[in-house]
Protein backbone atom coordinates (compact mmCIF):
# COMPACT_ATOMS: atom_id res chain seq x y z
CA UNK A 1 0.00 0.00 0.00
CA UNK A 2 2.83 2.36 0.87
CA UNK A 3 4.63 1.43 -2.36
CA UNK A 4 1.49 2.17 -4.41
CA UNK A 5 1.12 5.57 -2.74
CA UNK A 6 4.76 6.40 -3.30
CA UNK A 7 4.55 5.39 -6.97
CA UNK A 8 1.42 7.49 -7.48
CA UNK A 9 3.06 10.51 -5.90
CA UNK A 10 6.24 10.11 -7.96
CA UNK A 11 4.34 9.68 -11.24
CA UNK A 12 2.03 12.64 -10.56
CA UNK A 13 4.96 14.81 -9.48
CA UNK A 14 6.97 13.88 -12.55
CA UNK A 15 4.04 14.68 -14.86
CA UNK A 16 3.44 18.01 -13.12
CA UNK A 17 7.12 18.93 -13.38
CA UNK A 18 7.21 17.89 -17.03
CA UNK A 19 4.24 20.06 -17.93
CA UNK A 20 5.41 22.94 -15.73
CA UNK A 21 8.48 23.22 -17.96
CA UNK A 22 6.26 24.46 -20.77
CA UNK A 23 5.05 27.40 -18.68
CA UNK A 24 6.41 30.84 -19.52
CA UNK A 25 9.13 32.07 -17.17
CA UNK A 26 8.16 34.04 -14.10
CA UNK A 27 7.69 37.67 -15.10
CA UNK A 28 8.17 36.90 -18.80
CA UNK A 29 7.11 39.98 -20.74
CA UNK A 30 6.06 37.97 -23.79
CA UNK A 31 3.80 35.50 -21.99
CA UNK A 32 0.08 35.63 -22.83
CA UNK A 33 -0.74 36.84 -19.32
CA UNK A 34 1.45 39.90 -19.74
CA UNK A 35 0.87 40.76 -23.38
CA UNK A 36 -2.89 40.95 -23.76
CA UNK A 37 -4.72 39.14 -20.94
CA UNK A 38 -4.22 41.32 -17.89
CA UNK A 39 -4.34 44.65 -19.79
CA UNK A 40 -7.64 43.48 -21.29
CA UNK A 41 -9.11 42.68 -17.86
CA UNK A 42 -7.79 45.86 -16.23
CA UNK A 43 -9.04 48.14 -18.99
CA UNK A 44 -12.46 46.59 -19.43
CA UNK A 45 -13.73 46.00 -15.89
CA UNK A 46 -15.53 49.35 -15.69
CA UNK A 47 -17.01 48.93 -19.17
CA UNK A 48 -17.98 45.28 -18.77
CA UNK A 49 -19.22 45.01 -15.21
CA UNK A 50 -19.22 48.53 -13.76
CA UNK A 51 -16.99 47.38 -10.91
CA UNK A 52 -13.94 49.53 -10.06
CA UNK A 53 -12.19 46.75 -8.12
CA UNK A 54 -10.79 44.63 -10.93
CA UNK A 55 -9.82 41.83 -8.52
CA UNK A 56 -13.48 41.21 -7.74
CA UNK A 57 -14.41 41.19 -11.42
CA UNK A 58 -11.67 38.73 -12.30
CA UNK A 59 -12.44 36.51 -9.31
CA UNK A 60 -16.21 36.32 -9.64
CA UNK A 61 -16.88 37.10 -13.28
CA UNK A 62 -14.05 36.48 -15.75
CA UNK A 63 -12.98 33.32 -13.94
CA UNK A 64 -16.20 32.68 -12.04
CA UNK A 65 -16.17 28.98 -12.94
CA UNK A 66 -12.88 28.54 -11.10
CA UNK A 67 -14.12 30.37 -8.02
CA UNK A 68 -17.23 28.19 -7.96
CA UNK A 69 -15.03 25.15 -7.50
CA UNK A 70 -12.95 27.02 -4.92
CA UNK A 71 -16.14 27.42 -2.90
CA UNK A 72 -16.86 23.74 -3.41
CA UNK A 73 -13.36 22.92 -2.15
CA UNK A 74 -14.08 24.93 1.00
CA UNK A 75 -17.26 22.92 1.56
CA UNK A 76 -15.36 19.71 0.89
CA UNK A 77 -12.81 20.64 3.55
CA UNK A 78 -15.63 21.02 6.06
CA UNK A 79 -17.12 17.70 5.02
CA UNK A 80 -13.74 15.96 5.26
CA UNK A 81 -13.26 17.27 8.79
CA UNK A 82 -16.77 16.08 9.67
CA UNK A 83 -16.30 12.57 8.28
CA UNK A 84 -12.84 12.15 9.78
CA UNK A 85 -13.49 13.50 13.26
CA UNK A 86 -17.17 13.47 14.16
CA UNK A 87 -18.12 10.84 16.73
CA UNK A 88 -21.75 10.20 17.50
CA UNK A 89 -21.42 8.52 20.88
CA UNK A 90 -19.93 10.84 23.43
CA UNK A 91 -17.60 9.00 25.74
CA UNK A 92 -18.41 10.43 29.13
CA UNK A 93 -15.32 11.83 30.83
CA UNK A 94 -14.19 10.32 34.14
CA UNK A 95 -15.00 13.53 35.97
CA UNK A 96 -16.91 16.70 35.23
CA UNK A 97 -16.29 20.15 36.56
CA UNK A 98 -18.96 22.54 37.73
CA UNK A 99 -18.58 26.09 38.93
CA UNK A 100 -20.68 27.34 41.81
CA UNK A 101 -21.49 30.78 40.49
CA UNK A 102 -22.04 32.81 43.72
CA UNK A 103 -18.78 31.70 45.32
CA UNK A 104 -16.65 30.84 42.30
CA UNK A 105 -15.78 27.42 43.73
CA UNK A 106 -15.06 24.59 41.31
CA UNK A 107 -16.62 21.21 42.01
CA UNK A 108 -15.28 17.96 40.60
CA UNK A 109 -17.94 15.30 40.24
CA UNK A 110 -16.77 11.76 39.57
CA UNK A 111 -18.47 9.44 37.12
CA UNK A 112 -21.72 8.18 38.65
CA UNK A 113 -22.00 11.13 41.01
CA UNK A 114 -25.08 13.29 41.27
CA UNK A 115 -24.93 16.03 38.64
CA UNK A 116 -26.69 19.38 39.07
CA UNK A 117 -29.83 20.06 37.04
CA UNK A 118 -29.30 20.91 33.40
CA UNK A 119 -30.78 24.41 33.65
CA UNK A 120 -29.36 25.22 37.05
CA UNK A 121 -28.63 28.89 37.61
CA UNK A 122 -26.31 28.22 40.52
CA UNK A 123 -24.00 25.65 38.91
CA UNK A 124 -22.51 26.08 35.45
CA UNK A 125 -20.58 23.33 33.78
CA UNK A 126 -17.04 24.22 32.78
CA UNK A 127 -14.79 22.37 30.40
CA UNK A 128 -11.69 21.80 32.44
CA UNK A 129 -10.30 22.80 35.78
CA UNK A 130 -8.36 25.74 34.45
CA UNK A 131 -11.11 27.15 32.20
CA UNK A 132 -11.05 30.85 32.97
CA UNK A 133 -14.17 32.64 34.11
CA UNK A 134 -13.27 36.16 33.19
CA UNK A 135 -15.90 38.88 33.21
CA UNK A 136 -13.51 41.11 31.25
CA UNK A 137 -13.11 38.70 28.34
CA UNK A 138 -16.78 37.79 28.15
CA UNK A 139 -17.96 41.40 28.16
CA UNK A 140 -15.33 42.56 25.69
CA UNK A 141 -16.26 39.82 23.27
CA UNK A 142 -19.93 40.62 23.70
CA UNK A 143 -19.13 44.22 22.84
CA UNK A 144 -16.90 43.42 19.88
CA UNK A 145 -18.86 40.63 18.16
CA UNK A 146 -21.62 42.92 16.92
CA UNK A 147 -19.09 45.28 15.35
CA UNK A 148 -17.18 42.40 13.78
CA UNK A 149 -20.36 41.11 12.16
CA UNK A 150 -21.38 44.58 10.97
CA UNK A 151 -17.95 45.08 9.44
CA UNK A 152 -18.17 41.63 7.84
CA UNK A 153 -21.44 42.57 6.13
CA UNK A 154 -19.78 45.77 4.92
CA UNK A 155 -16.85 43.80 3.52
CA UNK A 156 -19.18 41.42 1.69
CA UNK A 157 -21.39 44.17 0.28
CA UNK A 158 -18.54 46.55 -0.55
CA UNK A 159 -16.29 44.06 -2.31
CA UNK A 160 -16.99 45.80 -5.62
CA UNK A 161 -15.41 49.05 -4.53
CA UNK A 162 -12.77 48.26 -1.94
CA UNK A 163 -10.65 45.26 -0.96
CA UNK A 164 -12.95 42.55 0.27
CA UNK A 165 -15.63 40.23 -0.97
CA UNK A 166 -17.21 36.95 -0.10
CA UNK A 167 -14.18 35.07 1.20
CA UNK A 168 -12.99 37.85 3.51
CA UNK A 169 -16.47 38.72 4.76
CA UNK A 170 -17.23 35.06 5.37
CA UNK A 171 -14.06 34.64 7.38
CA UNK A 172 -14.99 37.65 9.51
CA UNK A 173 -18.51 36.31 10.11
CA UNK A 174 -17.17 32.89 11.03
CA UNK A 175 -14.53 34.29 13.35
CA UNK A 176 -17.16 36.30 15.25
CA UNK A 177 -18.92 33.03 16.14
CA UNK A 178 -15.59 31.39 16.99
CA UNK A 179 -14.78 34.37 19.22
CA UNK A 180 -18.05 33.77 21.06
CA UNK A 181 -17.16 30.12 21.41
CA UNK A 182 -13.73 30.94 22.84
CA UNK A 183 -15.00 33.56 25.27
CA UNK A 184 -17.94 31.45 26.46
CA UNK A 185 -17.96 27.74 25.75
CA UNK A 186 -18.75 25.32 22.97
CA UNK A 187 -22.08 24.10 24.36
CA UNK A 188 -23.51 27.62 24.53
CA UNK A 189 -22.32 28.30 20.98
CA UNK A 190 -23.90 25.09 19.73
CA UNK A 191 -27.22 26.22 21.17
CA UNK A 192 -27.06 29.43 19.14
CA UNK A 193 -25.47 28.09 15.94
CA UNK A 194 -26.05 24.37 15.65
CA UNK A 195 -23.93 21.99 13.66
CA UNK A 196 -26.83 21.24 11.35
CA UNK A 197 -27.22 24.96 10.63
CA UNK A 198 -23.55 25.19 9.73
CA UNK A 199 -23.74 22.21 7.39
CA UNK A 200 -26.93 23.37 5.69
CA UNK A 201 -25.71 26.96 5.31
CA UNK A 202 -22.47 25.77 3.76
CA UNK A 203 -24.36 23.73 1.19
CA UNK A 204 -26.74 26.64 0.59
CA UNK A 205 -23.78 28.90 -0.13
CA UNK A 206 -22.50 26.60 -2.87
CA UNK A 207 -26.09 26.27 -4.11
CA UNK A 208 -26.47 30.06 -4.39
CA UNK A 209 -23.28 30.23 -6.45
CA UNK A 210 -24.07 27.41 -8.83
CA UNK A 211 -27.76 28.41 -8.83
CA UNK A 212 -26.80 31.82 -10.21
CA UNK A 213 -24.95 30.01 -12.96
CA UNK A 214 -27.94 27.79 -13.70
CA UNK A 215 -30.31 30.75 -13.87
CA UNK A 216 -28.01 32.23 -16.52
CA UNK A 217 -28.18 28.90 -18.33
CA UNK A 218 -32.01 28.93 -18.13
CA UNK A 219 -32.09 32.47 -19.51
CA UNK A 220 -30.35 31.22 -22.63
CA UNK A 221 -26.73 32.27 -22.05
CA UNK A 222 -23.57 30.50 -20.99
CA UNK A 223 -23.15 29.15 -17.47
CA UNK A 224 -22.33 32.07 -15.11
CA UNK A 225 -22.75 34.68 -17.84
CA UNK A 226 -24.45 37.28 -15.68
CA UNK A 227 -25.47 39.45 -18.62
CA UNK A 228 -28.41 37.10 -19.10
CA UNK A 229 -29.78 38.15 -15.71
CA UNK A 230 -30.72 41.66 -16.87
CA UNK A 231 -34.41 40.89 -17.65
CA UNK A 232 -34.82 39.37 -14.16
CA UNK A 233 -33.27 42.44 -12.53
CA UNK A 234 -35.35 44.88 -14.59
CA UNK A 235 -32.37 46.22 -16.53
CA UNK A 236 -31.89 46.89 -20.22
CA UNK A 237 -30.09 44.18 -22.20
CA UNK A 238 -26.36 44.82 -22.14
CA UNK A 239 -26.43 47.00 -19.04
CA UNK A 240 -23.15 46.35 -17.16
CA UNK A 241 -25.01 46.57 -13.84
CA UNK A 242 -26.41 43.08 -14.52
CA UNK A 243 -22.91 41.65 -14.22
CA UNK A 244 -22.28 43.76 -11.14
CA UNK A 245 -25.38 42.34 -9.43
CA UNK A 246 -24.49 38.83 -10.59
CA UNK A 247 -21.07 39.20 -8.93
CA UNK A 248 -22.80 40.35 -5.76
CA UNK A 249 -25.12 37.35 -5.61
CA UNK A 250 -22.16 35.04 -6.12
CA UNK A 251 -20.23 36.79 -3.34
CA UNK A 252 -23.14 36.20 -0.95
CA UNK A 253 -22.97 32.50 -1.74
CA UNK A 254 -19.22 32.46 -1.08
CA UNK A 255 -19.71 34.30 2.23
CA UNK A 256 -22.31 31.76 3.39
CA UNK A 257 -20.10 28.82 2.50
CA UNK A 258 -16.91 30.19 4.03
CA UNK A 259 -18.61 31.34 7.24
CA UNK A 260 -20.38 28.10 8.03
CA UNK A 261 -17.51 25.85 6.99
CA UNK A 262 -15.10 27.77 9.24
CA UNK A 263 -17.47 27.36 12.17
CA UNK A 264 -18.07 23.70 11.35
CA UNK A 265 -14.34 22.93 11.19
CA UNK A 266 -13.82 24.78 14.46
CA UNK A 267 -16.55 22.74 16.17
CA UNK A 268 -15.03 19.46 15.04
CA UNK A 269 -11.41 20.34 15.69
CA UNK A 270 -11.83 22.03 19.07
CA UNK A 271 -13.80 19.17 20.60
CA UNK A 272 -12.10 16.30 18.69
CA UNK A 273 -15.44 15.56 17.04
CA UNK A 274 -17.35 14.99 20.27
CA UNK A 275 -19.05 18.40 20.50
CA UNK A 276 -19.28 18.27 24.27
CA UNK A 277 -16.24 20.15 25.51
CA UNK A 278 -14.55 22.88 23.57
CA UNK A 279 -11.29 24.64 24.15
Amino acid sequence: MKITGLLTVIICGALLTYYAMDFPDFGDGRSPANTYLSPHFLENTMHDAHVPNSVTTILADYRGYDTMYETTVVLTAGLACFFLLRRKESTSPPARFFRHVPTGLTLRIEEGGKLPAENSKVFTRIDSLWAPDSLIIRNTCRLIIAFVQLFALYVVAHGHYSPGGGFQGGVLLGSSIILFSISNDLRRTLKRFREKTAAVLGAIGVLIYSGTGFVCLLMGAHFLNYEALSPLLGLKTGDPMARSHGIFSVEIGVAFAVMSVMIWIYYNLSSAGKHDEGL
Binding site: W130, P132, S134, I137, T140, L143, I144, F147
Partner: protein, 111 residues
Amino acid sequence: MIVLTVIVGLLMAVGLFIFLTAAVGMIRFPDFYSRLHPAGMIDCMGVLLTMGGLALFALFDGGISLASFLNFAKIVLIVVFIYITSPTATHAIIDAGMRAGLQPWTKKKDM
Protein backbone atom coordinates in the same frame (compact mmCIF):
# COMPACT_ATOMS: atom_id res chain seq x y z
CA MET B 1 0.06 75.36 9.78
CA ILE B 2 3.50 75.34 11.37
CA VAL B 3 1.83 74.75 14.75
CA LEU B 4 -0.02 71.74 13.35
CA THR B 5 3.14 70.32 11.81
CA VAL B 6 5.04 70.68 15.07
CA ILE B 7 2.28 69.10 17.18
CA VAL B 8 1.71 66.21 14.78
CA GLY B 9 5.44 65.67 14.39
CA LEU B 10 5.95 65.60 18.16
CA LEU B 11 3.09 63.14 18.70
CA MET B 12 4.35 60.84 15.95
CA ALA B 13 7.95 61.03 17.17
CA VAL B 14 7.04 60.17 20.76
CA GLY B 15 4.74 57.40 19.55
CA LEU B 16 7.44 55.90 17.34
CA PHE B 17 9.93 56.15 20.20
CA ILE B 18 7.52 54.10 22.31
CA PHE B 19 7.24 51.56 19.50
CA LEU B 20 11.03 51.30 19.41
CA THR B 21 11.44 50.88 23.16
CA ALA B 22 8.64 48.32 23.23
CA ALA B 23 10.23 46.35 20.41
CA VAL B 24 13.56 46.36 22.26
CA GLY B 25 11.76 45.36 25.47
CA MET B 26 10.01 42.44 23.82
CA ILE B 27 13.41 41.00 22.93
CA ARG B 28 15.34 41.97 26.05
CA PHE B 29 12.93 41.21 28.90
CA PRO B 30 13.58 37.91 30.67
CA ASP B 31 10.28 36.01 30.61
CA PHE B 32 6.80 35.62 29.18
CA TYR B 33 4.95 37.96 31.52
CA SER B 34 7.43 40.81 31.41
CA ARG B 35 7.58 40.57 27.62
CA LEU B 36 3.83 40.98 27.43
CA HIS B 37 4.15 44.34 29.17
CA PRO B 38 5.87 46.09 26.22
CA ALA B 39 3.55 44.21 23.85
CA GLY B 40 0.59 45.82 25.57
CA MET B 41 2.38 49.16 25.64
CA ILE B 42 2.73 49.21 21.84
CA ASP B 43 -1.00 48.86 21.42
CA CYS B 44 -1.89 51.46 24.02
CA MET B 45 0.60 54.31 24.18
CA GLY B 46 2.27 53.89 20.79
CA VAL B 47 -0.94 53.53 18.81
CA LEU B 48 -2.64 56.31 20.75
CA LEU B 49 0.12 58.82 20.03
CA THR B 50 0.81 57.94 16.38
CA MET B 51 -2.87 57.61 15.52
CA GLY B 52 -3.67 60.77 17.48
CA GLY B 53 -1.11 62.65 15.38
CA LEU B 54 -2.53 61.22 12.17
CA ALA B 55 -6.09 62.03 13.26
CA LEU B 56 -5.18 65.67 13.95
CA PHE B 57 -3.38 65.86 10.61
CA ALA B 58 -6.37 64.38 8.79
CA LEU B 59 -8.75 66.81 10.46
CA PHE B 60 -6.86 70.10 10.11
CA ASP B 61 -4.68 69.65 7.04
CA GLY B 62 -6.47 71.22 4.10
CA GLY B 63 -9.31 72.70 6.15
CA ILE B 64 -12.09 71.11 8.15
CA SER B 65 -14.71 69.56 5.89
CA LEU B 66 -17.05 66.59 6.05
CA ALA B 67 -14.54 64.35 4.28
CA SER B 68 -11.67 65.27 6.58
CA PHE B 69 -13.92 64.84 9.62
CA LEU B 70 -14.88 61.35 8.39
CA ASN B 71 -11.21 60.44 8.07
CA PHE B 72 -10.64 61.77 11.59
CA ALA B 73 -13.57 59.74 12.94
CA LYS B 74 -12.31 56.55 11.28
CA ILE B 75 -8.87 56.92 12.87
CA VAL B 76 -10.45 57.63 16.25
CA LEU B 77 -12.57 54.49 15.85
CA ILE B 78 -9.42 52.44 15.19
CA VAL B 79 -7.94 53.73 18.45
CA VAL B 80 -11.16 53.01 20.35
CA PHE B 81 -11.31 49.42 19.12
CA ILE B 82 -7.64 48.81 19.83
CA TYR B 83 -8.17 50.20 23.33
CA ILE B 84 -11.04 47.77 23.90
CA THR B 85 -9.43 44.66 22.48
CA SER B 86 -5.72 44.90 23.13
CA PRO B 87 -5.72 45.09 26.96
CA THR B 88 -8.27 42.27 26.97
CA ALA B 89 -6.02 40.14 24.80
CA THR B 90 -3.05 40.82 27.06
CA HIS B 91 -5.18 39.99 30.09
CA ALA B 92 -6.37 36.74 28.53
CA ILE B 93 -2.85 35.64 27.57
CA ILE B 94 -1.46 36.35 31.04
CA ASP B 95 -4.46 34.63 32.64
CA ALA B 96 -3.89 31.56 30.48
CA GLY B 97 -0.20 31.56 31.41
CA MET B 98 -0.96 31.69 35.12
CA ARG B 99 -3.60 28.96 34.89
CA ALA B 100 -1.31 26.75 32.85
CA GLY B 101 1.19 27.02 35.70
CA LEU B 102 3.99 29.15 34.30
CA GLN B 103 5.88 30.73 37.20
CA PRO B 104 6.89 34.38 36.89
CA TRP B 105 10.60 35.07 36.60
CA THR B 106 12.37 36.31 39.72
CA LYS B 107 15.90 37.51 40.13
CA LYS B 108 16.84 35.17 43.00
CA LYS B 109 16.01 31.97 41.21
CA ASP B 110 17.85 28.99 42.66
CA MET B 111 18.88 26.99 39.66
